[in-house]
């Protein structure tokens, strides 16, 4: 695969790892947070953590759309999925997220028409095909996926597709980062910035991190060489006493982002006063809902939903894991009551979730530490 394989070159990887080692001050520990679940996935997929020197530790951040979805919102989705004659659509991973009484996949097994789609446009296609049935799209994700939901809603409105609606769970990346940085127990030295989100929002929204919190951030691509180079750039900043936003992913991320995508988002969505995050609680101005102009396509208005806030299970410490305060294995239910087959918290659901990753890889990782 051209233009992909080049970023997976093992020789260049070893060379970069050597240069990273050269930047590490002996005895110093560097805690770097990869904000995005896509990076967590790459790090495990390619074994990148194993190439890093001992002092460099990666902390998995809150940028996994599935991981931060609160139980109450899943319950709302399940309530709509049980509507007679409806078709409920959503992305694959999301359907496994547990609500307070089961997941959407289990709702499907109980007889509800729940379908996996790969794009919101597919959901709209289903609505066109079944004009006599209500088709609902369960939208999740950060600024990466929000524009495609926005475009779909624009099209639905333009075509007057009356049987289509959307339950919007889109969130924005900056508020949870600010919440993390405000946390008194935070111990992070820098951030590997989200590449796909930045392709939409650009680099500017992250400038408060070096300005107000004195932590560097490097926007990073997702191939293994991208991630290694970003780590190198962060360590070079720390070594040189610099602290700024840098863009490693220039082949995809323009500094200004994607103005057209932002325009469509601004037309279709508006900020909610506050939105609940799994494990992190309510964060002001962090979630999106449909704007007044699109209210007729809002499933939350069209259907009666419980809208009940369901407290995270007491034992579950996803919040602390997401903040990097505790390691997955330090959670009280890790590996006992909470496993990938029967997750309690969302971090155990997605393969990008820190707990699921550690559950699968932890024993091996520790053996390596002991060697």
């Amino acid at each position: 695969m051209r233009f992909v394989q080049e970023f997976r070159d093992a020789g260049l990887g070893r060379a970069l790892a050597g240069e990273i080692l050269a930047l590490v001050e002996p005895g110093r520990t560097y805690k770097l947070m990869e904000v995005c679940g896509g990076h967590t996935h790459s790090i495990y997929r390619y074994g990148i953590d194993g190439l890093l020197p001992d002092g460099v530790e990666l902390v998995h951040g809150p940028g996994c759309p599935v991981c931060v979805l609160p139980m109450g919102r899943v319950d709302d989705g399940i309530a709509i999925a049980h509507e007679p004659d409806g078709i409920f659509t959503g992305s694959g991973d999301m359907l496994r997220v547990p609500g307070s009484r089961g997941s959407l996949l289990e709702t499907k097994a109980q007889g509800a028409d729940v379908r996996i789609v790969y794009s919101p446009l597919d959901a709209l296609g289903i609505a066109r095909l079944h004009p006599d049935r209500e088709v609902v799209f369960f939208a999740i994700g950060f600024e990466t996926t929000a524009p495609s939901t926005a475009l779909t809603l624009k099209r639905a409105k333009a075509e007057g597709i009356a049987n289509f609606s959307c339950i919007c769970n889109h969130v924005t990346i900056v508020p949870p980062l600010r919440a993390l940085l405000e946390s008194p127990d935070l111990r992070l030295d820098g951030f590997i910035g989200p590449g796909h989100v930045s392709s939409i929002v650009g680099a500017r929204p992250f400038q408060f991190i070096p300005a107000d919190y004195k932590r560097p951030l490097v926007i990073s691509g997702f191939e293994p060489l991208d991630v290694l180079q970003s780590i190198h750039m962060l360590l070079a900043q720390l070594a040189g006493g610099r602290c700024e936003v840098e863009n490693q992913y220039r082949r995809v991320v323009p500094w200004e982002g994607n103005p057209r995508a932002l325009e469509v988002m601004a037309e279709v969505f508006e900020l909610r006063p506050h939105f609940e995050w799994r494990g992190l609680g309510f964060i002001s101005h962090s979630g999106l809902k449909l704007s007044a102009a699109y209210a007729e396509l809002d499933a939350e208005r069209r259907f009666a939903i419980p809208g009940v806030r369901v407290a995270d299970p007491k034992a579950c410490q996803c919040g602390e894991v997401l903040k990097g305060v505790i390691k997955p294995w330090e959670c009280k239910v890790f590996g006992t009551a909470c496993t990938p087959e029967r997750p309690i918290g969302t971090c155990m659901v997605s393969p990008e979730g820190a707990c699921a990753a550690y559950y699968s890889y932890g024993r091996y990782a520790q053996e390596r530490e002991l060697v």
Partner: protein, 360 residues
């Protein structure tokens, strides 16, 4: 308790949980139970095995081995449900023959005869049924087996999806080797009979749920010639074979590492993947190691015979891309590790359910 000790204790608990027979605690069947991952494992080990326990079943081989008047026979059964019933490179009829023939072949048994049972949906076109019957006849002929018994049932429209097929195969155990899922030994080389992920990817694309077109055909074929070549080349040094169907090579390796209490160490760079499959997997966020094959086996061969076995395998039509993809090591038991092409190392676990495309 120090942090490191506590971490070790917890990882010990996790390891213990993973090693125990999976319990079946679900309240209803979901699609995950059919995906060949952890949920399938819990269904088999937690519900079916305890209720039906006997030695032949407990071995959890691809085929049961029974001794009848001194003759060792292998018996295997499989159900085929695939949508669409026809896809590039094959159809449900060929799968129904090759799937069961392959379960016998990788058990080291020469396939003798099949039974065939069909569940037909009211309204199925006679042309489709005729085409599938011919496909069954052709595949049986190519595999050198006869269909000697069977049954048909018709169900009302909507109670089945066009047609389902079930085949049961009888084979006679080949004396050249003694194969067992628990037979993996330290140092064994892991041979893979060709490029992976073609069947699953061909079917996924044939469903046209993704706006994606690629020249990918199912690899459905009889594996007896490949098994025969390995038995001939390696003899007693051939310790185990498995066809990497549902759940792909990753699941096959995990099942065998678990059954043998050893680890499999795979070199990602040596795993043959066709460029079109690699590209489609890349776009969809699906690792070809987890994608189904219908004509690929993994074989575990003692190092002394491995090179000869690989040469013999490559001489079999359809196995030209066969490769040595790794070795059996002792630690950590029950796990599969991958040396990534990038130079890192990671664990390749069973999936919890269906492989689902990632959203971003």
């Amino acid at each position: 308790m120090s942090s490191a000790t506590r971490q070790q204790r917890i990882l010990g608990i996790v390891q213990g949980t993973r090693a125990r027979p999976a319990r079946f605690r679900d309240e209803q069947i979901t699609m995950a139970h059919g995906a060949g991952g952890k949920a399938s494992q819990s269904l088999i080990e937690g519900l079916l095995l305890p209720a039906l326990q006997n030695d032949a079943l407990a071995a959890l081989g691809d085929a049961a081995v029974l001794s009848v008047s001194g003759t060792a026979l292998a018996l295997s059964s499989d159900i085929f449900v695939v949508r669409p019933i026809r896809f590039p490179g094959g159809s449900i009829g060929e799968l129904a023959v090759n799937g069961t023939v392959n379960d016998l072949a990788v058990s080291g048994a020469r396939p003798l005869a099949l039974t065939l049972s069909l569940v037909l949906e009211e309204g199925l076109s006679a042309a489709d049924l005729r085409a599938e019957t011919e496909a069954i006849a052709r595949a049986a002929d190519a595999a050198g087996v006869q269909v000697v018994a069977g049954d048909t049932k018709v169900v009302e429209r909507g109670h089945a999806d066009q047609m389902y097929a079930c085949t049961t195969g009888l084979g006679v155990l080949d004396p050249r080797a003694r194969l067992s899922p628990s037979g993996l030994a330290r140092g064994d080389r892991i041979l893979l009979s060709g490029r992976i992920g073609e069947h699953g990817m061909a079917v996924m694309l044939a469903r046209q749920e993704f706006a994606l077109e690629a020249q990918i055909s199912s690899d459905t074929r009889s594996l007896w010639p490949a098994a025969d070549a390995l038995l001939q080349a390696a003899g007693r040094d051939l310790h185990c074979m498995r066809d990497a169907t549902r759940g792909g090579v990753a699941s096959a390796l995990n099942e065998l590492a678990r059954a043998s209490g050893v680890a499999a160490l795979v070199s990602e760079a040596h795993v043959p993947v066709a460029p079109a499959v690699a590209g489609a997997g890349e776009l969809l966020g699906i690792d070809p190691m987890y994608v189904a094959n219908e004509g690929k086996l993994v074989a575990f061969v003692a190092p002394a015979s491995a090179d000869g076995a690989l040469r013999a395998l490559r001489a079999v039509p359809g196995c030209e891309h066969a490769a040595d993809i790794g070795e059996v090591v002792l630690e950590p038991p029950g796990m599969v590790l991958v040396d990534t092409a990038f130079g890192g190392r990671r664990v390749m676990d069973l999936l919890a359910g269906d492989p689902l495309p990632r959203i971003c």
